[in-house]
């Protein structure tokens, strides 16, 4: 079985939000909620200034805290590593929303929890996720972590720096951020300069 993962090269991301728009359209995400968003942060003061555009979404953790708390099995992990929600079993209790440390889940107005699926419906047809396909700078790569020939394995091998969000939680995310603009890695809210 493949072990799906995604990479985002932050040195290439320009924050155009094309991925966010593509996700909204592809998955018919209702207004007011989102599966994918972009965090923009400015660090430091000119001339020592860094800007980070960081797209965020479900990280499809290898050790997802949202799955065991689900009382009905609606939240589950597939054999290829995707973390998904079965709307037919979801009781909208919000336990998984509370458990996710990345704010990646939301309550769909139709009465169930929803989130990024890595566009599983497209993967089944051999296509890439909509955000990967639409990115104009090619900062996103997707594929099987265990296949050394897959795009994701190649960029991970070549990247100067690889980070994940909140590694201290032990969730083992499968969304990797490459080449963060700051030498210290991904920015944290506490580091941001507020005017």
């Amino acid at each position: 079985m493949p072990r799906y993962a995604m990479t985002i090269d932050l040195s290439l991301c320009v924050g155009c939000a094309a991925c966010a728009v593509a996700c909204k359209m592809e998955n018919e995400v209702p207004p007011g909620v989102r599966r994918l968003w972009i965090r923009e942060r400015e660090l430091g003061i000119f001339p020592d200034l860094t800007v980070e555009f960081r797209p965020e979404q479900c990280l499809h953790c290898a050790n997802p805290p949202c799955v065991p708390v689900c009382p009905t099995g609606a939240s589950y992990q597939t054999k290829d590593g995707l973390v998904l929600v079965d709307p037919k079993k979801c009781i909208a209790c919000g336990a998984c929303v509370a458990a996710c440390p990345y704010d990646a889940r939301y309550l769909h107005p139709a009465g169930y929890v929803d989130k990024c699926t890595f566009c599983q419906h497209r993967l089944e047809k051999g296509r890439l996720p909509a955000c990967v396909e639409t990115c104009p700078t090619g900062c996103r790569a997707f594929g099987d972590l265990d296949d050394p020939e897959s795009p994701v394995a190649k960029v991970l091998k070549e990247a100067g720096r690889v980070d994940v969000l909140r590694p201290e939680l032990g969730t083992k995310p499968k969304l990797f951020y490459l080449n963060a603009p700051s030498k210290k890695g991904l920015t944290r809210e506490s580091e941001v300069h507020h005017d």
């Binding site: 924050g15 939000a17 965020e56 805290p65 065991p68 009382p71 079993k89 704010d103 169930y112």
Partner: protein
Amino acid sequence: MTEFYGLPNAGEFWHWTNALHFILVGLAGGVAFLAALLHLQNAKEARFFTLVALGLIALDLFVLWAESPARFRFTHVWLFLTFHPQSPIWWGAWGLALAFLSGGLLHLNRGPKEALKRVFLVASLVALAYPGLALAVNLNRPLWNALMLALFSPSPPWLWAWGWPSSSSRPGPGFPSRAFWAWPSSWPPSTPSA
């Protein structure tokens, strides 16, 4: 400066109704536990406290249903058709359901009484523990945990506060803590002869 192209889903996802639910579960579980102890001692107050526990469980289930975004999807049936012991909510669903069923049958004088008393006791303990379990799993939300624990933790002391002053006013119905004070001398509970 931090900006977003669309905010993340960091908004409030559990509301005051959830706090009310946790407190009601704590109260329902506590009263059911005391009622179960009184049943095991064949105390006459058991029926009254069973009725209070049933009312609290019913009220809590109504609150849950009324605030649920899935209230007309009837997916809650999956709570009882699946086996997910890692989930506190699964335990809470079974604890409340079994406490209601066993307490209801005891109140109606139906079914195998001795077995029902023990089921009532265990189910009430599960219901009593459930809010704490539900909050304890959210290790990634420490502030939320602290707030909710502050709200939840008073509920068992409320029960104690209710029972304690009446410990000197027997006989009387408002005396759940009697079950504890009388416990050592009444254990094991007598089994009615055939």
